[in-house]
């Protein structure tokens, strides 16, 4: 469902010669019914990569196919087939939960007679009926996150992209979010999940890509990675990869 080949993204940056390379020839694939974890520290390039997949940014080079469409040439087809949720996808202050979800449902082109029952069903599932008519500005962070999830899945997309969906949430809401994502996987969705929290990756993801300074350092299932690097502890594995990469870069410089 998601095929990323040699994806590169450069930004103009006055401080750096030739600009800042946020993504450096990144490749990976994600199948339906699978959660692919993108693990990396802040600034590693996770958000840039997911923004390209959601067609908000254009790649400098390389290709990314989502649900059979190229993000560079068919952005609208891609957008109508994905659900995207990140820290940066806020909700409107002056809209109620119901209006917000219905608005996006209509933008996705869902007919009214299907939209109403679907929203009702979603609100039931996510325990949102009591915030149905609350304005965005009056909601707590947890409520907002629930509205975001409802907004992300209202059109039942085959591909879902979550960019650090649990950051800044208390444990209870974070657990709801994680459970919801697991339920979506069970429905056969193709899911990318980016985070810097190891435990979430261990719990949720089938396969993991460790990303650092715009490059994928390792890719594989948890077991494969543990075998390959002879480390059982995910955290130790992660730090070793990063240290090794930094040494490599240092060596290249000197």
């Amino acid at each position: 469902m998601i095929h990323v080949e040699q994806l590169t993204k450069r930004f103009a940056d006055l401080r750096l010669d030739g600009g800042f390379t946020a993504l450096d020839h990144v490749s990976f694939h994600v199948q339906p019914g699978e959660i692919f974890g993108l693990l990396g520290p802040n600034g590693a390039g996770k958000t840039t990569c997911l923004r390209i997949l959601s067609t908000v940014l254009r790649p400098t080079s390389g290709t990314a196919m989502v649900a059979g469409y190229d993000v560079a040439t068919h952005p609208e087809e891609v957008r109508s087939r994905i659900g995207f949720m990140s820290n940066n996808t806020g909700i409107y202050d002056r809209m109620t939960a119901y209006e917000m979800v219905a608005y996006f449902g209509r933008l996705y082109g869902i007919p009214e007679n299907i939209l109403q029952p679907r929203i009702d069903h979603l609100f039931d599932r996510l325990n949102m009926q009591e915030i149905r008519d609350v304005l965005g500005s009056k909601m707590s962070t947890g409520m907002k996150q629930k509205v975001s999830i409802a907004r992300t899945i209202v059109h039942d997309p085959p591909v879902l992209i979550f960019d650090e969906p649990t950051s800044g949430l208390d444990v209870l809401v974070a657990r709801t979010v994680v459970e919801e994502i697991r339920a979506l996987r069970d429905q056969g969705k193709c899911i990318i999940y980016s985070t810097h929290i190891m435990r979430e990756v261990e719990k949720l993801c089938h396969r993991i890509g460790i990303i650092y300074k715009g490059q994928i350092l390792a890719i594989g299932s948890l077991a494969e990675l543990q075998d390959q690097y002879a480390k059982t502890d995910m955290e130790a594995l992660f730090f070793e990869l990063i240290d090794r990469h930094d040494e490599l870069l240092q060596g290249a410089k000197s």
Binding site: A12, L14, V56, M95, Y103, L107
Partner: protein
């Protein structure tokens, strides 16, 4: 484009704005409350306002005639004022009446001034005698003394805190009587009688003194007229003697015309300003506000395309812009009408009923509002999308408002009337058209309606296109708040050079050329004004060459060497092959008659040429220069310098934006704009399109230089020898000499057009497919260019 999405976004944004108390307050509540509140404020101010009496010192009251009396009851007599109550606004201190210590102190300051004034009188007559005698030495001395004396007077006057000082000369009343006696006794003789007149001292730099002096002058004038009437009566002459031609002015203005005159000034200005402010706040909220609140990305990942999103937002902004303008206008209209009906006295009382404009005129207000609000909405939305935050967005309001205000104030001036050129200008066209349609003496405005509407909608669409473009740019949408470091930026400019200049470097170069040209105006003007008419022609050409070299060529050359890595590629220093040069020259030769004919046909459209330009043109036509001087100034220098700037640096920079067509249009527009005069701006812009195309297709600057040289050279030849073409026979098929000089006949024009199209097609398909981007191997030179020395 799915209109359903546009509608969805529009409905959401409108609802969102209506739920925002700030917007509602700005758009609806403020205009409805503002004007009545201002009205109440004005009434209160008039009630509370009381003018401070101004102090007038009158010296020598003993010499005043008793009938008619100037003073009565220690004030100026009420009969000399139009409004008798005004008499109390002038406090009069005389040498016989000073009660309070303040008045006495004032009098003490004023009295010695009488003596100084007398001395000045003596000096003035001495200066006159010295001038007659031609005594230069004593003249200078006397003048210095006079200046000194005036200075003394001024110091005392200001110290005394009086606003006006009147000095009545000794024996003034007696002199009046004597004059009467002289007239009666003269018999057949001419009566010659002169006597010292009163003096009135004021300080016109001081507002209070100026106003008081004007009032006093008015009093004195009325008093003088009464004295004259009395004198004429006593000597037995008719009262009409001093005013043999006193025209009776009859005002034919009808009430509704007076009202229409008021509306024709107020409505266009308010419409422009309110549709701008009405667009601005919603636009900021919909653009920068959405970024700030973190919902921009949510919207960007929905299936609606960028164009649909911008259109939905644009329609919302326009709705609020139009609503603001209409609410403001109606509130102002009704408040104004009510206020005027309240006024009992003063200038406003003439218009007892300030009738609102007729329905047809109001309909035009609404029609004009559509393109105006569309233009401002699109512009504001583009700015607001560019801004990182609402605060940054607000900063952009000031320049936009300043430009709009400038244009509006220009249109408000009574001397500015609608003409073809103004009708196609943004903002000015609609404002002037409305002014014309609302004004009482309705001159024929209907011919302008279509051009104004077409161009206004054109500008709106351009602005909208820009807004969509802004919205499609990820640099704009994801601009991060960065610390701006000048040193870092300069280092980046000089270190990370690219082969050709960037878009912003090209834009900066153009602004630099414009600024230099502005600064040089004074420098060039001064010697030209000093030169004698004979020298002026040559001097002007020398200055033109200097201007081309210093102002037009130097900035791009300097920037090209400093900021790009390939001077050759930037300035297109590639040999285009032998064939291109003569082909470009032929193109210039065939385009020249066409563009002349076009300019002649378009002359009705533009305001007349300024005098200085006609002077230049006549200078060229004169015979007393050697041929090479005009050729250098008008053909060689512009051909090289302007091509380096506009088809070299600027076009290369604009092309980096990625769009070839847009780059050519921009380079042509900038090329046009530096020609300043509207006629030449249009002509140069059109030729700039051709030059841009030739430069881009041949990848060389040289055909452009050849074209430019041939074109300007031909223009020179036409100006100089245009009147001398052979006439009669076959020649008459091609040429015609009339009052404008040489003109061309349709046969020649047709031939030229066909050839021009042919050559343009040739250039359009020049070397297609053979992309020779690496043809600059010989350039840049091995050693970097040395700039100093």
């Amino acid at each position: 484009m799915r209109w359903r999405n546009v509608g969805l976004i529009f409905r959401r944004e409108v609802l969102d704005q209506l739920r925002d108390r700030r917007t509602l307050f700005m758009i609806a509540v403020l205009p409805i409350l503002l004007y009545p509140a201002l009205g109440i404020g004005m009434v209160q101010l008039t009630v509370l306002f009381s003018e401070q009496p101004r102090t007038v010192v009158v010296l020598g009251t003993a010499s005043l005639p008793d009938d008619p009396p100037l003073l009565a009851d220690h004030h100026f007599a009420e009969e000399w004022f139009r409004n008798p109550a005004d008499a109390s606004k002038l406090e009069v201190i005389t040498d016989s009446h000073a009660d309070t210590p303040r008045q006495q102190a004032l009098l003490a300051v004023a009295t010695p001034m009488k003596e100084l004034l007398a001395q000045r009188e003596v000096l003035t007559s001495q200066i006159f005698t010295a001038q007659q005698a031609g005594d230069v030495a004593s003249l200078a001395r006397l003048k210095e003394q006079a200046t000194q004396l005036t200075d003394d007077l001024s110091t005392r006057f200001n110290d005394g805190e009086m606003q006006v000082l009147i000095v009545i000369p000794e024996g003034f009343a007696n002199n009046l009587e004597r004059m009467k006696a002289e007239v009666l006794q003269r018999g057949d003789q001419a009566a010659a009688f002169d006597y010292p007149r009163p003096a009135l001292l004021q300080n016109s730099a001081d507002e209070k003194s100026l106003i008081a002096a004007n009032r006093v002058q008015h009093v004195l004038d009325n008093w003088e007229r009464a004295i004259l009437r009395k004198t004429l009566e006593e000597v037995g002459l008719p009262a009409s003697l001093p005013e043999p031609v006193h025209a009776d002015a009859i005002d034919l203005a009808r009430q509704e015309e007076l009202a229409a005159n008021v509306w024709s000034k107020l409505f266009p200005a308010l419409l422009v300003i309110m549709s701008l402010t009405g667009a601005f706040y919603p636009a900021i909220d919909l653009g920068a506000g959405e970024k700030e609140r973190g919902t921009m990305e949510t919207l960007l990942i929905c299936p609606a395309s960028r164009t649909e999103i911008v259109l939905g937002k644009f329609l919302t902004v326009q709705l609020f812009s139009a609503a603001t303008a209409i609410l403001n206008l109606s509130s102002l209209g009704f408040t104004g009408k009510y206020m005027v009906s309240l006024a009992e006295s003063g200038a406003m009382s003439r218009m007892v009923d300030l009738a609102l404009p007729p329905v047809t005129a109001l309909m035009w207000v609404v029609v004009m509002l559509v393109p105006l609000s569309a233009l401002f909405s699109a512009l504001c939305l583009a700015f607001a999308t560019f801004a990182r935050s609402s605060k940054e967005g607000q900063y952009y309001l000031t320049p936009l408002l300043m430009v709009t205000l400038g244009l509006t104030v220009f249109c408000l001036s009574p001397a500015v009337e609608m003409q073809p050129f103004y009708s196609v200008m943004p903002v000015m066209g609609p404002a002037l058209l409305l002014k014309g349609l609302l004004s009482p003496t309705a001159s024929s405005m209907t011919v302008y309606i279509l051009p104004v509407l077409c161009t206004s909608f054109g500008y709106s669409i351009l602005a909208l296109w820009w807004a969509i473009d802004q919205f499609g740019s990820e640099d704009v949408l994801f601009r991060e708040a960065e610390r701006f470091d000048v040193r870092l930026w300069l280092r980046h400019l000089l270190r990370d050079k690219e082969a050709t200049p960037s878009f912003s470097e090209a834009m900066f170069c153009f602004v630099l050329i414009m600024l230099l040209q502005f600064a040089a105006m004074k420098v060039f003007q001064t010697p030209l004004q000093r030169a004698t008419p004979d020298q002026r022609g040559v001097l002007m050409m020398q200055l033109l060459i200097i201007q081309q070299l210093v102002i037009v060529a130097t900035p791009p050359l300097f920037m090209g060497v400093m900021l790009t890595s390939s001077v050759g590629e930037t300035f297109r220093l590639k040999w285009p092959g032998l064939f291109a040069i003569p082909l470009a020259m032929v193109l210039a030769v065939v385009l020249h008659p066409l563009s002349l004919e076009f300019a002649a046909r378009m002359s009705w459209f533009f305001p007349p040429l300024p005098e200085s330009v006609t002077e230049v043109l006549s200078t060229i036509a004169r015979d007393d220069f050697s041929w090479w001087m005009p050729l250098l100034a008008f053909a060689v220098a512009p051909a090289i310098c302007e091509e380096i700037a506009f088809r070299g640096f600027l076009l290369s920079g604009f092309k980096r934006g990625g769009r070839e067509g847009l780059a050519i249009v921009l380079s042509a527009l900038t090329f046009g704009i530096i020609h300043m005069i509207p006629q030449q701006v249009l002509n140069a812009s059109l030729l700039g399109l051709v030059l841009g195309l030739v430069a881009v297709r041949t990848r060389s600057l040289f055909p452009g230089i050849a074209f430019h040289f041939a074109y300007n050279g031909l223009e020179l030849v036409r100006n100089k020898y245009g009147g001398h073409v052979p006439q009669g026979g076959l020649w008459d098929w091609f040429f015609l000499v009339d009052s404008d000089g040489l003109r061309y006949q349709p046969a020649l024009l047709g031939l030229c057009f066909a050839t021009a199209v042919l050559i343009l097609v040739l250039f359009q398909n020049w070397q297609r497919g053979t992309k020779t981007a690496t043809a600059y191997s010989a350039w840049p030179p091995e050693k970097p260019l040395q700039l100093s020395g």
